[in-house]
Every structure is written in structure tokens, then in C-alpha cells.
């Protein structure tokens, strides 16, 4: 799909270009990218809020924009806004009503969700008096009101304190464990890495890299990483002679090796010198490194 926005005076701006994504059922799919890379445009396209300039897409087997799939999805927008004269219970009852929910079933669902996001004790406060974190929590609750099969979350932990962010991450994992699908947009890479099964990196409206988290984070074939501390300086220097890279800080050392044999040689040297080995494992990059590799060059 391609989305080009028509601006004033005939100017145009590309939202996304040749976007081609496939999300498998029952997984957490992460769409990451810098600000303005097209994450929110992608979500809006999938929700039928904006229309593609070219191309098509399907959500849950229905063409994008079709009312049928909206019965089965949930959506949390970035920096959510709601009718501010309502309190949390009224708000969830309103959204539940749009799905035809009502009566005791809806009451039970509202209580369950507000407890889940830690808002039950504050359920009578009007939305206009909410902090950013409270808005985010109630936003997650409204996105789950219809027990959706697929949930779209745009920056779900934005504005939350560490505890709140952890609670929301737990909610997301629990949704996946129930066999549902989560489509997550965020630029918080450290959060996405342990949470997602699949990730696509978006930059300037294009997918520049995608795959499973293991695929993306895997280093070059056969490389190993050794982490240790209190390694004597002369041993560190000797490691530099056959390591691909050696990084040191405080009393810590992190070294990568081209193959298993060199890694074993280094391990032996460190142990003999009295250093403490913390980890020896196949080399794995962080999502941040992958992201910078994928996006950094283009940004420059």
C-alpha cells in the first residue's frame, strides 16, 4: 500500500510507500520506526481512518475499512483523547454500547478491565481530570472492551511510570497468550525487543527490515560474545589481538569473536587469569543496534 497525503498548494507528502506487511495470528507484531516514519499512518490505513492512494489490504480477512472486522478489533491511539465529561465507567460503557454490549455482562467487563489496568479505585474521576498515565490506562481498557481478536496499540506505554508500563506489558503478553494478535507501534526499542515475536522497521514510509526477533537480532553467522569482569589488563590486551571487537567499562569487558574456537581460547585465558566469566553465547545484537544500522544510514 502507498499513502500520499495531499497538502496545501498542491504539495504532497508520503505517508507510507509500497508497504507490504503480513501479521500472523496469535503473535505480537511490532512496528518500529523514528518519529514521522509512517507508523501511525499505517495504523490509520489498517483502521480505515485514511484511505490508501494505491494498493489494498485485509484485516481479519476483510478489506480494510470494512465494518465487519471492526467488531473484532481494539484500538488504542497515541496520546488518546476521550469525551472528557465522562468517568472511566461511563466511558467504557459508552464504547461497550457501540459493540452492542449492555447490562450485567458489560458491567462485569468494565470492572474486570478497570481492575486489569489499575483504574478501578479511580473509576469515578472524570476524564478531564486524568493524568497522561491514567488516560493511557483507560485507553488500553477501552481497546479491550469487546474482547478483540486483534488489538492495535500505538505507543501503549507512553506517559506511564515504570510500574504502569510493566503492567501494560503484562497485559499485552496475556492477550497474546490467549491466542489473540497484537499489532504494536512504538519507538521504545528496549520494550519491543522482549515483547514482540515479529518486528518490522519503518523509515520514511518504507519497511527497511523485517523478520522474527531472533532473525533480526542474530549477529553474523558463527560469531560469539564473551562477557566477563575483573580481567587483568594484560589479558584484555591479548584478547584484542584475536577478538573482532573488545569493549571495556569499569571492570567489565565485552568481546566478540569470529568463531567458537577463538571464543574458547579467550574463555581459557580469562579463567586462567582469575577473571569472572558472566556470559559466553552466540553473538546477538540489540534491537537498538539493528535499528540504527537500518535507519541510521538513511537518516544521514
Amino acid at each position: 500500500m502507498t499513502k500520499i497525503y495531499q497538502l496545501e498548494f498542491g504539495r504532497k507528502q508520503t505517508g507510507v510507500e509500497d508497504l507490504n506487511l503480513e501479521v500472523e495470528e496469535g503473535q505480537i507484531f511490532g512496528l518500529v520506526g523514528p518519529n514521522g516514519s509512517g507508523k501511525t499512518t499505517t495504523l490509520k490505513l489498517l483502521l480505515g481512518l485514511v484511505f490508501p492512494t494505491s494498493g489494498t489490504g485485509e484485516v481479519l480477512g476483510f478489506p480494510i475499512g470494512h465494518p465487519a472486522y471492526k467488531e473484532r478489533i481494539g484500538f488504542l491511539p497515541e496520546g488518546p483523547y476521550f469525551y472528557d465529561h465522562l468517568n472511566a465507567v461511563e466511558l467504557l460503557r459508552f464504547y461497550g454500547g457501540l459493540f452492542g454490549l449492555g447490562g450485567k455482562e458489560l458491567d462485569r467487563r468494565v470492572q474486570e478491565l478497570l481492575e486489569l489496568v489499575g483504574m478501578w479505585d479511580r473509576r469515578h474521576i472524570r476524564v478531564r481530570n486524568y493524568s497522561r498515565g491514567m488516560l493511557q490506562r483507560v485507553g488500553v481498557a477501552q481497546a479491550l472492551i469487546n474482547d478483540p481478536d486483534l488489538i492495535f496499540l500505538d505507543e501503549p506505554t507512553s506517559g506511564l511510570d515504570p510500574l504502569g508500563a510493566m503492567q501494560i506489558r503484562e497485559v499485552i503478553t496475556r492477550i497474546r497468550d490467549q491466542g489473540k494478535t497484537v499489532f504494536l507501534c512504538s519507538h521504545l526499542l528496549k520494550e519491543m525487543e522482549p515483547l514482540c515475536d515479529n518486528i518490522a522497521i519503518l523509515n520514511r514510509g518504507r519497511v527497511v527490515q523485517s523478520g522474527t526477533v531472533d532473525e533480526l537480532l542474530a549477529g553474523p553467522q558463527g560469531m560469539y560474545m564473551l562477557r566477563a569482569h575483573t580481567v587483568p589488563q594484560e589479558v584484555v590486551e591479548s584478547l584484542r589481538s584475536f577478538a573482532t571487537e573488545v569493549r571495556t567499562w569499569d571492570s567489565e569487558i565485552e568481546a566478540t569473536f569470529a568463531d567458537q574456537k577463538l571464543a574458547a581460547q579467550a574463555l581459557e585465558a580469562v579463567v586462567e587469569a582469575g577473571g569472572t566469566v558472566r556470559e559466553l553465547s552466540p553473538y546477538r545484537r540489540s534491537l537498538e543496534e539493528v535499528f540504527i544500522d537500518a535507519v541510521g544510514g538513511e537518516a544521514q
Binding site: 481512518l49 491511539p77 454500547g97 457501540l98
Partner: protein, 273 residues
């Protein structure tokens, strides 16, 4: 229908919390409530003034509320981005638009109802004193049809503000809300003079140029005829307002609402939010 009802209900309760609109309503009720004292400014024509001020206030303030509410309905949803969560639910753009319109209609009609009740109370209390104010001529006007006609006039105000709300919503789906407000006010005031354009179009003595007469004829055909909702003259003459005439006015009003809603729908169904 459920989605329309839910959106309309939310719109109604949200609109009643808008202080600016409430202030207009309070001001209107105050003017209507004090219209009997203002009526004394014109000795011998107190009843005329009472009806003029009362019904005029209902129409004018009803129009203000209708325009300011109508033009902000969609704009607020877009600016506050509440429309995103709403349209991501099983709510189509059509249901959203109709729901907003129905909620706005319910709001302006409840406003008119309150103003109408206020006027009816003032009228019921004061009109019996005013009708015999001229000792020389006896009763200035008869009261045979007065109460029923006033009820009919208030009923027509319901329809008139309904048209204005629909026009304001329509304009807001096409223009920015400020432009939409200007457009709505303009259409309302020019629409009051629609019949004047017919006179110009049909009178070669007053307008010599055939091109100009054609222009006025087009204006007459295109503009909404808001003057048809003003039946104060008939009330003051205590004429029976025939049901057929009322039926025609009602049909005109409903037609305006339908046309404006259709244009709004055409503009909004392809709008990106």
C-alpha cells in the same frame, strides 16, 4: 441504529456541558422572561411587542445555538481526535454523522423547548392584561387562535433551528469551522430575504436587466427560504394558521434538513480523519 443512538446520546450530553451555549440559553430565557416589561415601551401595542420580542428571541438565540453547536460538532471530534477511537469501533462514517446530527437536533430542540415554555408562561400571565390595554378601542386583538398559533410558531422554530443545525454541520464538513459559521450565518440572514429576490426577479420595473433578473431568480431558487418559518404576522392578526400551510412549511423544512444532511454525507464519507 444502536451506534447512531449511542453517538447521538453522547453528543447530546456533551453539548449540554458547553458553557458558551448554556450562557446563550440563559440570556435568551432572561430576555424572554423580561419581555413583558419591555412591552410597556410601546403603549397600546404591548401585545405586539411581547410576541415580537418573545418569538423573535426564540428564533434568534435558537439560531445562534444551532450555528455554534453545528459547526463545532465534527471539528471538535477531529481536533480532540476522539473520532479516531470512535471510527475504529463498528461505527460507519454515516452512522457517526447522523448520530452527531441527531444529538445536535435533540440539543437545540430541548433549548427551544425551554425557551418556548418560558415564553408561554410569560404570555399566559401577561397577554390577558395586554389585550384590553386600549380603553377607547376595546380589545386590541382577539385571542381566538392566539395560544394555538404561538404553539405552532414555536413548533416552526423547532424546524427552523433543525435546518440551521443541518446546514452548519454540512458547512463544517466542507470548510473550517470558522468559515462554516460565517457561511451558516450568511445563509440564514440572506435566507430571510429570499422572497425579496423573487420580487426583484419578477419585476422588470425594478430590475431592468434580464441577466440580473435571472440572477435573482436563481438566488431565489437556490437559497433556503427561512422567511416561511416566521408566522408572527399571522399570529398578531389572530388569523387561523391553516394546517395545509403548516404542512407545506414543515415539508420545506424537512426537505432542507435532508438536502443538507445528504451534502454533509457526501463530503464526509470520503474524508480522512
Amino acid at each position: 441504529m444502536k451506534a447512531i443512538y449511542r453517538v447521538a446520546r453522547a453528543t447530546f450530553f456533551e453539548a449540554w456541558r458547553r458553557r458558551f451555549l448554556n450562557a446563550i440559553l440563559v440570556f435568551a430565557v432572561l430576555i424572554i422572561g423580561s419581555s413583558w416589561s419591555l412591552a410597556y415601551l410601546q403603549p397600546g401595542a404591548e401585545l405586539t411587542l411581547l410576541i415580537d420580542i418573545g418569538l423573535g428571541a426564540i428564533r434568534f438565540f435558537g439560531m445562534l445555538i444551532a450555528v455554534f453547536l453545528g459547526v463545532r460538532l465534527i471539528a471538535d471530534e477531529m481536533e480532540k481526535r476522539t473520532v479516531h477511537t470512535l471510527l475504529a469501533k463498528p461505527v460507519t462514517r454515516t452512522q457517526f454523522l447522523v448520530g452527531k446530527l441527531v444529538g445536535a437536533l435533540a440539543t437545540v430542540w430541548s433549548n427551544i423547548l425551554l425557551m418556548g415554555i418560558a415564553f408561554y408562561i410569560v404570555f399566559a400571565l401577561k397577554a390577558p392584561q395586554f389585550r384590553n390595554m386600549d380603553p377607547e378601542k376595546g380589545p386590541v386583538v382577539r385571542m381566538d387562535f392566539m395560544y394555538a398559533n404561538i404553539a405552532k410558531a414555536i413548533g416552526l422554530s423547532f424546524l427552523e433551528v433543525g435546518c440551521i443545525v443541518a446546514i452548519a454541520v454540512m458547512a463544517s464538513t466542507i470548510f473550517s469551522w470558522i468559515l462554516a459559521a460565517i457561511f451558516s450565518f450568511f445563509l440564514y440572514f440572506v435566507g430571510q430575504m429570499a422572497d425579496f429576490f423573487r420580487v426583484l426577479a419578477q419585476n422588470p420595473d425594478r430590475v431592468e436587466s434580464a441577466v440580473q433578473r435571472t440572477f435573482f431568480a436563481i438566488l431565489y431558487a437556490v437559497l433556503p427560504h427561512f422567511e416561511v418559518f416566521d408566522v408572527r404576522e399571522a399570529i398578531l392578526k389572530d388569523q387561523f394558521l391553516p394546517w395545509l400551510t403548516l404542512g407545506k412549511i414543515v415539508a420545506t423544512g424537512v426537505l432542507y434538513i435532508v438536502i443538507a444532511t445528504l451534502i454533509a454525507w457526501l463530503a464526509f464519507k470520503g474524508r480522512e480523519v
